[in-house]
Symmetry: C2
Subunit: 190 residues, 2 copies
């Protein structure tokens, strides 16, 4: 998606050659006009697949999922990372390691909001090692729902999560794929 690559080039900041900050438009401030372009692109890629539910994980995925769900005219569900006292026991759970915060997150989705009849599109802001995405797919499988595929805004291909999951047969569409990034070359897109 050319406009996304442009946006990353103009607004993204590469810290220490290894951390890409896109918090001006994607995961702290959200550029709503641009997010609509992203939602439209996911819709172009997955229309006709019968998607009736968008699934993501808190917190950065929520905005993307809400805007995308408007295009599919369906509801969205976000997996929770902290086990709230209020969530109840009737949940699907899986475990995902967060490398950003260096901790294991038990992620949960209420059984009320994901079940056999659902056809799910998972969306998220980043795909790196694939820990969060693997846990979300695990939860879709536990629920008996179908998975149409995954929509990722930025894939860091050099971290291998995308390849690992594609080898397992998961359809993953990434709107921008970074082949490598470092202080010398900056961000190199695939």
């Amino acid at each position: 998606m050319d406009s996304l690559i442009e946006k990353i080039r103009s607004e993204g900041r590469l810290l220490d050659g290894s951390i890409l900050k896109v918090d001006s438009f994607l995961n702290h401030q959200i550029d709503i006009g641009f997010m609509k372009e992203i939602g439209a692109e996911f819709y172009r890629l997955y229309r006709g697949c019968g998607v009736n539910k968008i699934l993501t994980i808190e917190a950065s995925g929520i905005g993307i999922a809400c805007i995308t769900a408007q295009f599919f005219d369906c509801n969205m569900v976000f997996a929770k990372k902290s086990k709230s006292a209020n969530l109840g026991d009737d949940v699907y759970t899986s475990v995902a390691h967060s490398y950003t915060y260096n901790r294991d997150n038990v992620i949960t989705v209420s059984k009320r909001y994901l079940s056999k009849g659902d056809n799910v599109l998972i969306v998220d802001d980043f795909l790196a090692r694939g820990a969060a995405l693997t846990a979300l797919i695990d939860i879709v499988n536990l629920s008996g729902a179908s998975l149409s595929g995954v929509g990722i805004v930025i894939e860091k291909a050099f971290q291998g999560g995308g390849d690992m999951l594609r080898r397992q047969g998961v359809r993953i569409e990434s709107l921008a794929t970074i082949e490598r990034m470092n202080a010398e070359e900056g961000i190199v897109f695939a």
Copy 2:
């Protein structure tokens, strides 16, 4: 907002007479069509105030803020609860106690995305004791931005946060106000 009160009556679940669960449409699964009605209502209340930024706090506020920002044709920013290693030091911070999770959250907003020229509408799903909202208002004040007001989906008036903040001169518009709730009477709206 009558349709919201209807929605709470039909889908809300009152646990132990004290916990209101509205996770079928507001803060786990999000009913996107209904969320658009909520965004439209906040726009009706605050149009003409010159709002150029919607502010909320992760995670439950993000969806509401994204949909509302579409009506105002502006960007949104969500305050973060965990201090990520990636966020940097150039942040406004405040402290809010979470009664749901029983812990203090240091909440942060990057100085890049909130500043003197901004005119802010804060939105959130619930207003109870007002801890999160007080911290968000604190951050708006630290930034030098103007605050047009606050838009809340459900105010639990009996917990006092709304009255406390209104006495301080903050404009708060709640789309549904619960006067009390208990096992005998159920949910009693104001």
